[in-house]
């Protein structure tokens, strides 16, 4: 079963996103912060990570950088409210697959996730 990791510091966003994908038979785990996400990645080895950029201590970009630093080439889609040129450039260079703009629209999210999973399977 495909594994999705949702990283967002918004309780409601991550919980309801999990809810949404579970309904579609996707195994979803969640993390509320960068550190927690990195720990989870080691244990659960997700197929795709939805990574929020703006988070408290450690930003999504930091998490992505750390992952690549550990030679983890897991698929990552960035989630962000504000699109900053510099961030787009950096994350693209780090191999992020794309950007999902907040406010999140579930249908859009579904499309992206299913596309990535479809490619995999």
């Amino acid at each position: 079963m495909a594994k999705l990791l949702i990283v967002d510091d918004e309780l409601d966003v991550r919980e309801f996103a999990r809810n949404f994908f579970r309904k579609r038979g996707i195994d979803v785990s969640i993390a509320s912060a960068g550190r927690e996400a990195l720990d989870l990645v080691d244990r659960e080895i997700p197929d795709l990570i939805l990574l929020d950029i703006r988070m408290g201590e450690m930003s999504g970009v930091d998490v992505l950088r750390e992952l690549r630093h550990r030679h983890n080439l897991v698929k990552v889609v960035m989630v962000s409210g504000i699109e900053e040129d510099q961030v787009v450039q950096e994350t693209t260079a780090l191999g992020a697959l794309g950007f999902i703009h907040k406010p999140l629209v579930l249908e859009e999210l579904e499309k992206v996730v299913l596309r990535e999973f479809g490619v995999q399977s």
């Binding site: 409601d12 966003v13 809810n19 309904k23």
Partner: protein
């Protein structure tokens, strides 16, 4: 008693002496009278006195039949003549401020003159009188005559030389003064020295004597034109008066000599001449006294007016001030009505700002346009309009433009209109009706009103600047509030945005669940419940969406610094922004006209995306404004258009978007840049953030400037200034 036959030369000589005598004495007295304590005035008066007295004695001497009497007068004229060169020298030292340097020569001159003067009535100087050439009588020089002549020549020409030196060294006004003095005195003294030729048997008649008078004219001119000796223009009249009178009285006397020769007629005629000269002054004096009596009442109100106008400066409330002015005018001057029209600097019209009427029944115009004859009249003059004068001038000169002014004055029921200028700009127009007692406005009234007008202009300016200051303070306070709101908004918007996300997200998920589990709702009741939930959830989503948009608008461009700044082509930006706007622009009537040359317009330094957003917003606003004008004004053949111009000024690119849309009401102008303020009829679409974001992007992020000029019902100009790219 036998009279010797007079000659033409002698007659001429005599007449010029009289002219010089009267002119010189009058001028001397006048200069002295104008400023008794000024040393230069004193010296000038002294010189004029001696020249005048010399000339007068000369006149008497040559009109006296008796030889003994003539000899006495001739010696008398020499007495005054002795003091002419030293007085001239004294005047010169005073004029050039050399008195301390030439002490020796100065005292020696006076001592020598005093010595000669003591001997003047002895035969040492003038031995006797006998006929010579064209003259019946001419003095025979005594042994002291040569020393006298040398003394005369030395001091005169030395003085002239000093003045010439002074002239060479000076500059500006002073140079001009000295030039005239030098020319005047040079001609005068050279003319005067023709008197001496006969003494040494040179047959050169003393015709130069006439030129003595010229020095007077030159000096008078220097005095008037170049403010020599602190005498003001009032002097002109006196100068002209003297010249005219000496000629007017001199000619008849000369004719008298011509026809009758010297005789008893001379006394009464001379007396008449002097009385006639003095007469007008006496008349003026009496008239002034009489007027003072008659006009005592008027004087009283004029002084009240002066006092009242002095107090006006303390009033800061413009409205109150203007009301005070009209009430002073109506009450103190007792006129039927007074109105004040004050300029509105926004539209240049003069609005009725204060009015007072003693008896009603007359409703004045509410405003005067720039083309109003009265306003036009004051564009070329600052003199008041006096009804009587205007009517008289029309009768006399048939001036067409004044006829319009007269009609306009009648419309305003005005007898007197005076302008108020602030820094030479016409600011207010004060209209005054006729006086309650039916009398006209006098010259004195006008001078008081001109003081009042000056005071009023100061007071109005004072009050206006106070109001401006208050307004600026309010604006500052507002701007301060705005800045606080701005910072708060930046921080808050992120938080609110997250809450809204979550809310929308939950709603979407619920909606999703409902859809997935639709099959569970089998009974009609359950179906209805599901329908209701679906509807409610869609409403929640809609509202969350709109809330999100607003917050996004606030958040999007709060970032400063020069990240992502690059040279941007304005043409590219406008083109892409217009493409973006095409999704909304449905009307084929709406056009964008680029009036700049896309090739020559230089690139600006900026963030392409942000500037795109700006121009998208501007085009969007312009479009909405044209749609609103179309639907509200329903003009035939109207088509919305926005013209875009760009040009470089002061190292900045100035981009002007002019639309012919509905425009902005004056009351809304201040609020337009405030977040959440919108005037759009389709307010469902307007978030009220467009202009706020534009200003933020252009001014905060790009360091540029945004300006808006708009006339309601005509259109709006948006002017942006952006820095040129140096790359």
């Amino acid at each position: 008693m036998t009279f010797l036959k007079t000659t033409l030369v002698e007659n001429f000589y005599t007449i010029t002496s009289l002219v010089t005598a009267v002119g010189s004495l009058c001028l001397g007295l006048l200069v002295f009278h104008k400023n008794k304590v000024n040393l230069l005035n004193q010296r000038y008066a002294q010189l004029s006195l001696f020249i005048g007295m010399w000339s007068l004695c000369l006149f008497i001497c040559h009109t006296t039949a008796d030889v003994n009497n003539a000899l006495w007068w001739n010696r008398a004229l020499h007495f005054f003549s002795i003091f002419i060169p030293i007085s001239f020298y004294h005047f010169t030292l005073e004029l050039l401020d050399l008195k301390k340097k030439k002490v020796m020569l100065f005292w020696f001159g006076y001592a020598f003159a005093a010595m000669l003067a003591m001997l003047v009535f002895t035969p040492f100087l003038v031995r006797a009188l006998e006929p010579k050439f064209d003259f019946r009588l001419w003095p025979v020089p005594g042994p002291l005559y040569l020393p006298f002549l040398l003394f005369f020549s030395f001091y005169s020409y030395y003085s002239l030389w000093l003045i010439y030196q002074g002239y060479r060294r000076s500059c500006g006004l002073r140079r001009e003064q000295l030039r005239l003095i030098f020319i005047g005195l040079f001609i005068g003294f050279n003319g005067g020295s023709t008197n001496f030729a006969y003494f040494y048997n040179i047959h050169f008649p003393p015709i130069g004597n006439l030129f003595v008078f010229l020095y007077l004219l030159f000096l008078a001119y220097a005095i008037i034109k170049y403010r020599l000796m602190d005498i003001k223009i009032a002097f002109t009249r006196a100068g002209i008066f003297i010249t005219v009178y000496t000629l007017v009285l001199g000619i008849p006397i000369w004719v008298g000599f011509k026809t009758m020769g010297s005789g008893p007629w001379l006394l009464p005629v001379t007396l008449m001449a002097f009385l006639a000269t003095g007469g007008p002054f006496f008349y003026l004096f009496i008239q002034r006294r009489a007027e003072a009596r008659i006009l005592a009442e008027q004087r009283k109100y004029q002084s009240t007016l002066r006092q009242a106008s002095a107090g006006m400066g303390r009033i800061r409330d413009l409205k109150k001030l203007l009301n005070l002015i009209v009430s002073i005018l109506t009450r103190v001057v007792r006129i039927n009505h007074a109105l004040i029209y004050l300029i509105d600097r926004e539209d240049g019209l003069f609005y009725l700002s204060a009015a007072r009427r003693m008896n009603g029944g007359f409703s004045p115009l509410e405003g005067l346009a720039v083309v109003h004859p009265v306003v036009k009249y004051f564009s070329s003059t600052d003199l008041p309009l006096v009804g009587e004068e205007v009517r008289e001038t029309i009768d006399r000169e048939k001036k067409q433009d004044l006829v319009q002014v007269e009609v306009a004055m009648r419309q305003l029921n005005a007898e007197l209109i005076f302008p108020v200028f602030i820094r030479s700009e016409l600011t207010a127009i004060v209209v005054m009706g006729s006086k309650a007692n039916g009398r006209g406005y006098s010259e004195d009234d006008l001078s008081v009103f001109s003081i009042l007008s000056n005071q009023a202009s100061l007071a109005i300016e004072n009050a206006q600047s106070y109001e401006d200051m208050k307004k600026t303070q309010e604006q500052l306070f507002k701007a301060d509030k705005m800045a606080t709101i701005g910072t708060m908004a930046d921080g808050l918007s992120h938080q609110i945005n997250n809450r809204l996300h979550a809310l929308g997200f939950i709603a979407s998920d619920m909606f999703d669940t409902l859809k997935l589990r639709r099959s569970l709702f089998v009974t009609p009741e359950l179906k209805a419940v599901a329908d209701e939930f679906e509807y409610s959830l869609s409403r929640i989503q809609e509202n969350v969406g709109r809330g999100g948009e607003i917050v996004q608008g606030l958040m999007k461009y709060t970032r400063k610094g020069e990240e992502g700044f690059a040279p941007c082509s304005i043409d590219d930006i406008i083109r892409t922004a217009y493409e973006m706007a095409q999704f909304k622009i449905r009307s084929s009537d709406f056009k964008i006209l680029k009036e700049y040359d896309p090739v020559s317009v230089p690139k600006v330094k900026g963030n392409f995306t942000q500037l795109q957003e700006v121009f998208f917003n501007l085009i969007d606003n312009a479009y909405d404004a044209t749609v609103q004008r179309k639907t509200e004004l329903k003009e035939e053949g109207y088509a919305g258009v926005v013209r875009v111009n760009a040009r470089v000024t002061d190292g900045l690119l100035e981009i002007i978007l002019s639309d012919n849309g509905i425009g902005v009401k004056p009351a809304d102008k201040d609020k337009l840049f405030t977040p959440f303020f919108t005037t759009k009829a389709t307010s469902k679409k307007g978030t009220g953030l467009g202009l706020y974001v534009i200003r933020k992007i252009i001014e905060d992020n790009h360091g540029g400037k945004v300006e808006m000029h708009s006339v309601y019902g005509q259109g709006t100009d948006m002017i942006l200034r952006l820095f040129l790219s140096k790359e």
